[in-house]
Symmetry: C2
Subunit: 326 residues, 2 copies
């Protein structure tokens, strides 16, 4: 009789956490830390994107490259780290020729300039299946100043950057599953899916006030849930306060249930972080300087797990809490 | 009119070398270097293995895990670096369940103990295609003491560790392409294909005398070729001096042309390194202490490229010079 398969996080806890070094933070964070140059630590992160799962075969290669870089830079931003460099591994089908690679490398070059990061090296292999692109990214941070998942305390305010749900709607648009909305709104949502914007300025300035942070790659409820678990606390999120773009609002106006995408879909790569209530002024100032919208969406409480309140303040039950790319 | 596609190394030079940081060594080496703790540098390496290319779907999962670790540890060994930790990314088909992962993680655990390395973290994603497993590995080395590809000088002796060709014959055996040999020899060769042995002791001790080093992952001629290119020199290799295991000898006895596998096949993950002639005693002593066979197979000369002399000292022309996993 086959046992019920473990979920992703149970697998990590069961099979991989016992293998972790101290710098691996018991695999409860999404980064690792090692000693760096004097007074600094290196922040290590790896994240892969898979064809037909995270991007599509006919996406512009430069966008694929930039998304790959950005989903990793997003984690560095969440931790308040400054990018240093990255290692690239590619499993490429033969059909990806020089032309594709030339455009891909131009995308990397553009974002390297933008985010001041460079290439350390890589590995390229053939595959008979979908493309798999993986980055190991290194940032640096003053010793002990990385904003980890484990620092949230009851009473903290829960903030998110930018707007949520856009990427989910962009993906739905690509798949032809979106209600009819305006052309510009549709384009905006697809762009948000293809090309997330790492919230770097916010992350670095956040070190002054944030107690815990993560980027939202599995969905707000799931990633805030990781923060809660690592911190030994619970959280309450109010759906009515979720920040939506005008384009996302036009989707939700036509299909109110789709608000759930803002709770359970991760491809926006916004940040979720917590800070004590008396830091509200500093958080607002950091957001202004970084030019990034920041919205309080809930609070940290004693206990465990993330409770979501619906539009009228009643508990919302989600059939799933984190987007699974399967 | 389509241009002739670039080879792997031309692609790296054209598309990726311009993106490299100084620590990326112009992507002419197989590792990168960054500042580490006081007096040290970190050596960074990434290497992936792909199902149906580097391993087979029904290979024992623990062996797959150990091969993944070892192909990376082999590079650290070549550079004389001590392993620190690694990041793991996995693109897994749904068919790989908890049982497979449990065995895979046991393989990692066994080799973590053996090679004193630990896990920093990772990322796991779904794929609809073959499994792709990628490692980013970090080692440490005294500042300026990493043995790079670029240090070879005319007059140096070219050494290789262990024996060559075993893994190629092991792969041929799995594919049913091997001449009939004894059962024990066949098993030995398959084992060599599945589970390479990083030459760590040799690498660390080698820092005393080696001028340039690389692990043989693309084949002796190709990897020595990389050393020559990075060093601005040429090399001569004598086929008659290539070290073969008894099992490999039994293959070559039946099919003499198969000696070429020892020149162009990389899956042995042995080391190739160069040292001045007056270091011969130190090289032999280091080999004895490490318990690893070391064989002089040629010499570094002025010029460029690798020339191979056949059994009777006449130039051997190879239709290809490096194993391509395609």
């Amino acid at each position: 009789m086959a046992a019920k398969p473990l979920g992703e996080f149970a697998r990590i806890a069961r099979f991989f956490a016992p293998l972790a070094l101290p710098g691996g933070l018991k695999l409860r964070d999404d980064v690792a830390l090692i000693a760096g140059r004097r007074g600094e630590q290196y922040v290590l992160k790896t994240d892969a994107i898979v064809e037909a799962i995270h991007f599509f075969a006919d996406d512009p290669p430069a966008d694929v490259a930039r998304k790959l870089l950005r989903v990793n830079l997003s984690d560095l931003a969440a931790k308040g780290a400054t990018p240093v460099g990255y290692l690239l591994t590619m499993a490429l089908p033969k059909s990806r020729g020089d032309r594709w690679l030339a455009a891909f490398s131009r995308g990397l070059a553009a974002d390297q300039r933008k985010y001041r990061i460079g290439l350390f090296g890589g590995d390229s292999d053939a595959t008979r299946g979908p493309m798999v692109l993986s980055l190991a990214t290194i940032g640096r941070v003053a010793h002990g100043r990385a904003i980890l998942r484990s620092g949230a305390r009851p009473g903290d305010v829960v903030y998110v950057s930018g707007t949520l749900g856009d990427a989910a709607f962009g993906l739905a648009a690509i798949k032809g599953q979106l209600p009819r909305i305006g052309v510009a709104a549709r384009r905006y949502l697809i762009r948000r899916y293809r090309l997330p914007e790492p919230r770097r300025g916010l992350g670095r300035r956040g070190t002054a006030s944030a107690r815990a942070a993560a980027d939202i790659s599995d969905g707000l409820v799931a990633d805030l849930g990781h923060v809660c678990k690592a911190s030994g606390v619970g959280a309450i999120v109010e759906t009515a306060r979720l920040p939506l773009s005008p384009a996302a609002r036009s989707v939700v106006a036509r299909s109110p249930r789709m608000i759930r995408a803002a709770l359970i879909h991760g491809d926006d790569y916004e940040l979720v972080f917590t800070a004590p209530p008396n830091a509200a002024g500093r958080v607002a100032a950091a957001a202004r300087v970084a030019g990034v919208r920041v919205t309080a969406v809930g609070r940290i409480v004693a206990g465990r797990g993330v409770r979501v309140l619906g539009a009228k303040g009643r508990p919302l039950h989600l059939s799933r809490t984190g987007y699974r790319h399967v």
